[in-house]
Amino acid sequence: MNQGDLSGEYGRWKSGPYAKTCARFPERKERFEGSSGIEVKPLYTPLDVEQVDYVNDLGFPGEYPYNRGVQPTMYRGRFWTMRQYAGFATAEESNRRYKYLLEQGQTGLSVAFDLPTQIGYDSDHELSAGEVGKVGVAIDSLADMETLFDGIPLDKVSTSMTINAPASMLLAMYIAVAEKQGVFANKLNGTIQNDILKEYAARGTYIFPPKPSMRLITNIFEYCSTAVPRWNTISISGYHIREAGATAVQEVAFTLADGIAYVKAAVDAGLDVDDFGPRLSFFFNAHNDLLEEVAKFRAARRLWARIMRDRFGAKDPKSMQLRFHTQTAGCTLTAQQPDNNIVRVTLQALAAVLGGTQSLHTNSRDEALALPSQDSVRIALRTQQIIAYESGVADTIDPLAVSYYIEALTDEIERAAADYIRRIDEIGGAPAAIERGFIQAEIEESAYRYQMEIESGDRTIVGLNDFQIEEDRPSGLLKVDPAVGDLQCRKLAQLRAERDNAAVEASLAALEHAASGSDNLMPYILDAVRAYATLGEMCGVLRGVFGEYKPTVAY
């Protein structure tokens, strides 16, 4: 059948059987739409993908524009990395959890740090009170890092670290621990998040103002391109932007706009785009709308390939490949009937796999209530294993491609995200758009709309605003011992008493001097780390030179 006949046939069906049925039995809603407001039509046909040029718009796995995936064999070669974000209390306790997860078949580590660590305060700083070891592990110095990875061979695992403002210090600690294990830096695999722009816009663990922050980031790009060549030097993150309330389109747009800003900063600092481009990685959210999410991942991949090739003139195909980690959407989990969260996470994880993720964290059912218990984490990991080993979806590449709906939606999301990026370019790029509060305001608007949809009943959340039951709150939640703070402070006092304080002073003075100039700071940070300078001391020196970021936008 040719397209003309199809168009006629479609019109006949739409005004005939479809319209007649709608007249007798109205549809559930007047308008169906995805998170981004893109209308979902009742039916998709070849007419919706008329514009799609298979070779140019989809291509083949492992080839430009990577719509169908970044590797030629995808999960037929190897499953995605199953990487559960974990860390709490002390390095000793977190080390035990990592070993447990590895024993259970997890294939990569993902370190959660507590807030004082993420903001560059030692555990004994007054602002750390009450926060030590709460949302992640407390790391004050190389000594804690040695404990954290005790008995875990760093040449055998890949480790992702959710660390941003002080990313260079934690990476330096990781390198130093590896040295002590006899592992050279060029053998290390892993990722640091190192994405400061989304901290200003959505996540909040910033320390320094944008300019010196961007310098620290480009210093890492430059240092790792030779010294730690397998390391993913940044994980440009849409996850937290989405968690803060953004839509699928906004998640893609704001993440890639941040990516553009990092590439531009590095190119402006004199680096070649193909020297650092292949080590850029991404981090996305997997939300509830399964098909919209699959289309989102595919759209992001194609849009980034085009940006790297056309805007930045990248030549190395690896620079154009958007490789990404995914985490299921924490904000969708309910405290009510928490076992239902296992089902939500399954659907979200399926979206990530159908969307071609390189690694995946599945949330635990109890995360709307507390840090996950060991049993809940195991179920979350098993969810990934069931998708991988039992569901069959990993046996062929990009199985939803050329679905009329998926391709039409992929195009629409890409187009809408590109429009947003154009608006951000007009403002002067992501840093300027954040400084003006544009990105934050867009996210807040979406967050508010989502909440009002729930409260008005327009959006049903099972167990929350419909299908409720009387229930007891679950027991067996994980609780971090408040004594962790005192313990960590005692360890710190002991460290300060036992280390070579003259060497610490000298390394900090050298770091301060270098920060005032234009040298790459990584070697100075490594020296200070090896001398057991604390994270708070190193960040304190840099706070003195760089100043601290103060949000400019009043709410």
Partner: protein, 133 residues
């Protein structure tokens, strides 16, 4: 309280936690309900929150924490308010707060704790019904 005077609310983020989606949604919902809302922004110490509450002469302090530091930070705010002789301000809290922690928080003076799934309409209603002045 005086008829015609708008309820003034300080929405505050104590501690180092950067999750302010909930705080901002609540702030906007209270504003839409006709209240005057001041949002502190992130990383406020208990001292800063109490100083802002006094300076802005608010009727309500609404604090949000998702980092698990509530058992330290909420009571600290209450203690400082008492030390400054403030006893007519309604203080409420919200965030990921386990049920078992709630009685202790109420005992120290937090009037209500809103946990995941609470609606902004309930928060508005609670504030209107329990305001102290």
């Amino acid at each position: 309280m005086d008829e015609g005077r708008k309820i003034r609310v300080l929405v505050a983020k104590p501690g180092l936690d950067g999750h302010d989606r909930g705080a901002k949604v609540v702030a906007r919902a209270l504003r839409d309900a006709g209240m005057e809302v001041i949002y502190t922004g992130l990383r406020q110490t208990p001292e800063q929150i109490v100083a802002a509450a006094i300076q802005e002469d608010v009727d309500v302090v609404a604090m949000s924490i998702l980092s698990g530091a509530h058992n330290y930070l909420f009571p600290r705010v209450m203690q400082l308010l008492r030390e400054r002789g403030v006893d007519d301000v309604l203080v409420v809290g919200g965030g990921i707060i386990p049920d078992e922690d709630i009685p202790g928080l109420k005992e120290c003076g937090i009037a209500e704790v809103f946990t995941p799934g609470a609606s902004t309409a309930d928060t508005v209603k609670f504030i209107r019904e329990n305001i102290k002045r």
